[in-house]
Structure formats: C-alpha cells, structure tokens
C-alpha cells in the first residue's frame, strides 16, 4: 500500500470510537483479534509453508499465560505481575510452546504436519480442563486482570472525555487493540522483507536448496513456529481481554478449538497465503462477517429460523476458500494488487 494512504486509514481508525457504539467497537475489536492471529498463521503456513491446525491451541496458551501471570485470585495460581509484563510474558511463553512442537514440526511434513498439529487442539482441550488451577476450569473460568499501561486502566474506571465523548472500557480497548495490531503488522512486514523471511520462503519452496544456501531447516521451522505461536498467543491475550474471562472450552468446538483453527486458516487462505495485508482482509471477512451480520440482523430481519448470521458467514467463508483455490490462489491480496495495477 502506498505510504500516503496509511494516513487517512489511521485517522479513520483512530476516530471511530468517537462515533461508533460499543457493539460496533466490540465487533471491530474481534476482527483485530482475528487479524493478529491470522498474520501469525500466514507467516507460518504462507511464508514458510508449514500447515498448522493448532492455532487455537496457541491462543489458549497465550490466554492462560496472561491470566496466570497477571492473576491475583486467591484460589488459583496467579503471579500478580504488571499486565504489560504479563502480556509480554504470555507472548514469550506461547513462542516457547511453539518451539516445543519443533521436534514434530521438524520431522513431519506437509499435510501430515497439518493433521499432526490437530493433536495439539485436543491436548489443549484436555489440559484446559485438567489444569483448573491455571485456567480456572470450565465451570467458572477465571477473570483476567484488567489491562493497564503505566497506571492507565483499560476499563470503565475514571473519566476520560475526548471531543465530548466519554472513553470507557470498550473505547479504550479499541485503542489498545489498534496499537497491538499495528505493531504486529509492522513487525511481520519487517520480517518478511528481510533475511528471516527469505529463509522461510526457502524452506517452503525447497528444503534442499535452503540447506545448500546455509539455512538450518530444522531451526528455521522451529523459529517460524515460535513466531506464529507468539502471534497466536497475543491474539489469545486479546481474546481474554475482549471476553473479560478466560474459560477453557467444554468441547473441541469452543473458543480455542478446531473451528477456531480452521477459521484462522480460512483467513490466511482467503487473504492469500503469505500476504500480511491479505491476512487482515481475511480476518475482516471471516471474523467480521458473522459479527456485523448479527448486529444488523435485528434491522435487516433477514435471518429467520435456521438461517443465522453465523451460518451465512460459514457459507461465505467456505465458498471463499473454494473460489480462492480454484480461481485466485493469491487470494484477496492478489485481487488487490490487480486493482492497483489497473488503476495506475
């Protein structure tokens, strides 16, 4: 994207909380969570060619780590750290969890790896339930510490009025998420354009050639798993802040389950595997659509009986995957590039 185009985009995104109701902000924040996670997965599956269906698991690792590191509950394990430290810690722990998967990732390739990674989702389901002292258990879950930055609380606490609009928890969280997304985006862009990104693509395209050029394939795979998991972990922290609760899943189709993993993969595919702006666009489609349709549903009156916003969104993203693979393997990113070429 042209550097200049960023200015209006940024201004609009910064101004939105002054106009939009809390519901719309919630929906927007949800898309940002998706975008952060999808950027991580597009690095792993798109740039480095490692299929992963374990993204939901790493979300859970990040979510749990943040809750434990920042938690102050008496009956649960909690270290009571400063929330910013807890966030950084959670991202680091998620990265380590990604590295721990390296022995498998290093040996198992392609589609086998995708199925192997599915094991982590089931492991996460089990651990989330079994490790109740960390996760709070499926019965009650646990409330995460409110995020704070240098004494400023991202909650309804205190009054902060900008342009006549009181900024309450939801508005504040919007800005926090915006910063986290911008940072994630910028870091990923930096990595992809340089040495580390080249080594990922080399591993994806030809392991023998990568090796001959001095790339340690095993280490690179472990590394990209770590990076991708760190992104997922950050998305996990964001999701507990968004929900105001960490609640481990009761079954494999929950917040950190298979469907989530597939949704993230769908974002990466629809956006165009490997493309960072594409991943953000994919997140807007996959996570934005159900939210926006739900908010509009009362006004629209479209959805009756078994046709629900969630169902319609599933159809849309299922079809989008099929269409992308059939007609435009570069996804939304390639379509965007083409439009740009047409205009210039």
């Amino acid at each position: 994207m042209s550097k200049l185009l960023w200015i209006p985009v940024a201004v609009v995104l910064l101004a939105l909380p002054l106009y939009l109701d809390a519901s719309w902000l919630k929906a927007g924040q949800y898309m940002m969570i998706g975008a952060v996670g999808a950027i991580g997965l597009t690095l792993l599956s798109g740039q480095a060619g490692q299929l992963s269906l374990a993204h939901g698991f790493f979300l859970l690792v990040g979510a749990t780590s943040y809750s434990v590191l920042s938690g102050t509950d008496d009956d649960l394990v909690g270290l009571g750290l400063n929330p910013l430290l807890a966030l950084i810690g959670a991202v680091a722990i998620s990265a380590l969890a990604g590295v721990a998967f390296a022995p498998v990732a290093g040996r198992v390739r392609g589609i086998y790896l995708g199925v192997a990674s599915l094991a982590l989702v089931f492991l996460g389901l089990y651990l989330g339930q079994a490790a109740g002292s960390l996760t709070g258990g499926t019965s009650t879950g646990r409330a995460p510490a409110t995020f704070e930055l240098f004494g400023f609380s991202f909650s309804n606490e205190g009054t902060l009025i900008v342009a006549g609009v009181p900024l309450r928890g939801t508005e504040r969280l919007w800005y926090l998420f915006l910063i986290l997304l911008a940072l994630s985006y910028w870091l990923a862009k930096g990595a992809v354009g340089t040495r580390i990104g080249r080594s990922w693509r080399a591993v994806r395209d030809n392991e023998a050639a990568a090796t001959a050029m001095g790339v340690d394939v095993r280490r690179t795979k472990a590394g990209v798993f770590a990076v991708s998991s760190a992104y997922a972990g950050l998305a996990g922290v964001m999701i507990v802040l968004w929900f105001d609760i960490l609640k481990p899943d009761e079954n494999e189709f929950g917040t950190y389950g298979i469907n989530t993993s597939i949704a993230f993969l769908a974002m990466a595919i629809i956006g165009g595997l490997g493309s960072i702006p594409g991943a953000v666009a994919g997140a807007v489609v996959v996570y934005g659509l159900p939210q926006l349709l739900t908010l509009y549903s009362t006004d629209l009156g479209w959805f009756t009986g078994s046709v629900t916003p969630v169902l319609v969104s599933s159809f849309v993203y299922g079809a989008a995957i099929v269409l992308v693979v059939l007609f435009e393997p570069g996804g939304l990113a390639a379509i965007g590039r083409r439009i740009k070429e047409l205009r210039s």
Binding site: A191, R195, I196, R201, A202, N206, A209, A212, V215
Partner: protein, 250 residues
C-alpha cells in the same frame, strides 16, 4: 581443496558408490562425468551432505565435511547450483539471489522485524546486483522469477550459488534442459567464473562436449567406481571410458 577419500555409499544391498576418491584443487575446473546411473548424483549428494556415505571421508582443507550438518557447508565457502534450479518461483530474482547471502548475514525475527538489519540488507542487495550484472542478468533483478525464460533462471541459480562467496562451486548438470546456443553461453559463463573470480568448480555433467572444452581435470564414474581421472585429453583416450560411454549409448 576438496578431497574425497574412498567414499562408499550403499542403499540396502545396492552399491551406489564404491571407494570413490578424487581431489579438486583450488582454482581448478573439475568435471565429474559418467553415463546415466553411474553414481554422479549420489556422489554430488554425498559432497553436499544430503547423503551420508557408508564409509570413507570427504574433506575440505582440514575440515571433515561428514561431521557437519549439511547447512554448514555454505558457511565454509561451498556454493551449489541445482539441476532443476530449485528456486522460489514467486519471489523476485533479487530475493532468490539474496538467499545466498544467508550465512554472510545475521539476524533472526526480532532483529529483522525491528529493521535493525536494514543497512546491512542494502549492502548485500548491492552485492547481489553486482553478481547478477556479472552473469548478465542485471536487467531482470527486480522481476519475479516465474516470468523469466529457463535459460535466465539457470543463471539466477548460479548467481545464488555465487552469492555465497564460495571458493568451491558445485554445479549439478547445469546444461540439462538447455539448447545448444544456451549451452555454449553457459560454458562461457562457467569459464568466466573460474578465470575472473578464481573459484574452484566441481561440475557434474552429462554433456561431454561442454566438459571437454572447459575442464582442467576430469573424473569418470561408472557403476559407482572411478574408472578414469586426469586431464580431458587423457580421459578422452582412455579405453575404459570409451567402453563405458559406448556401452551406455548403444
């Protein structure tokens, strides 16, 4: 100096290489030839660390290459080009060539994503362009690889191997898939690399004409064994070589 010392490679009961020994001296253009199935590729893969020999040694100077994991070879100054090019077709030429700079640069995710390596990147990109210019593909540097003719991608592959700044360049059947004209041009390029850059080259090749025109030293393999080792002139008149090649072609 690359030395192969009695390298034997077995796959199950099959002997792919049988006590193969030869030496590539610095600055020379050494060709490894032989009929199909003679063990050229196996030998090449042993040198580049993809296969582990059953016995024997491969040394570069004092360093035993078999002790190293294969990705370490680039750091020792061994560049390699592939028979089937093995490039990233979606990336640009520059991006492909820059991969060769991997061992000459530093920086993981954190350093790269925070742009700490930006200045270094620029320096190495300039060097990569230089290499491309040297090989006559400077004009294509910013184009995506997929849009280029095969002859050019072959050169990109060699450019990438040169980007390692090697003192030994391994070329695996570079003429495969090229027409006569392109082969001639390639021969000139290879000669140029040797003379202008002073890099030793190990050339595995099927095309006898290409080899005999430019090689300093030729090793001939047949059924996994060295049947001749000498100057092109010596080898051409060796009765075993003639028999092997005649046998293979009839």
């Amino acid at each position: 100096m690359l030395v192969l010392d009695r390298v034997t490679l077995r796959f199950g009961g099959l002997v792919a290489l049988d006590e193969v020994s030869f030496t590539v001296t610095p600055g020379s253009l050494h060709a490894l030839i032989g009929p199909n199935g003679a063990g050229k590729s196996s030998c090449f893969n042993v040198i580049s660390g993809l296969y582990r020999p059953t016995s024997g040694a491969v040394r570069l100077g004092e360093q035993n290459l078999l002790e190293l994991r294969p990705h370490r070879l680039a750091g020792l100054g061994i560049g390699r080009a592939f028979q089937n090019t093995a490039l990233s077709t979606h990336s640009t030429v520059l991006d492909n060539v820059l991969l060769g700079r991997h061992t000459l640069t530093r920086g993981g995710f954190i350093a790269c994503s925070l742009r700490w390596t930006r200045r270094e990147e620029k320096r190495h990109a300039a060097r990569a362009r230089e290499i491309c210019d040297f090989l006559g593909i400077g004009a294509a540097v910013d184009q995506p690889l997929g849009s280029l003719p095969y002859g050019v991608t072959k050169k990109v592959d060699i450019a990438r191997a040169l980007a390692v700044e090697p003192n030994l360049l391994l070329l695996d059947e570079p003429a495969a898939g090229l027409n006569t004209e392109e082969t001639a041009e390639l021969a000139a390029t290879i000669g140029q690399i040797r003379t202008d850059l002073g890099i030793a080259i190990l050339l595995v090749e099927h095309d006898m004409d290409l080899v005999m025109g430019i090689a300093d030293q030729v090793t001939v393999l047949d059924f996994g064994r060295v049947i001749a080792d000498g100057t092109p002139g010596d080898v051409q008149t060796d009765p075993d070589v003639i028999k092997a090649y005649l046998g293979a072609t009839t």
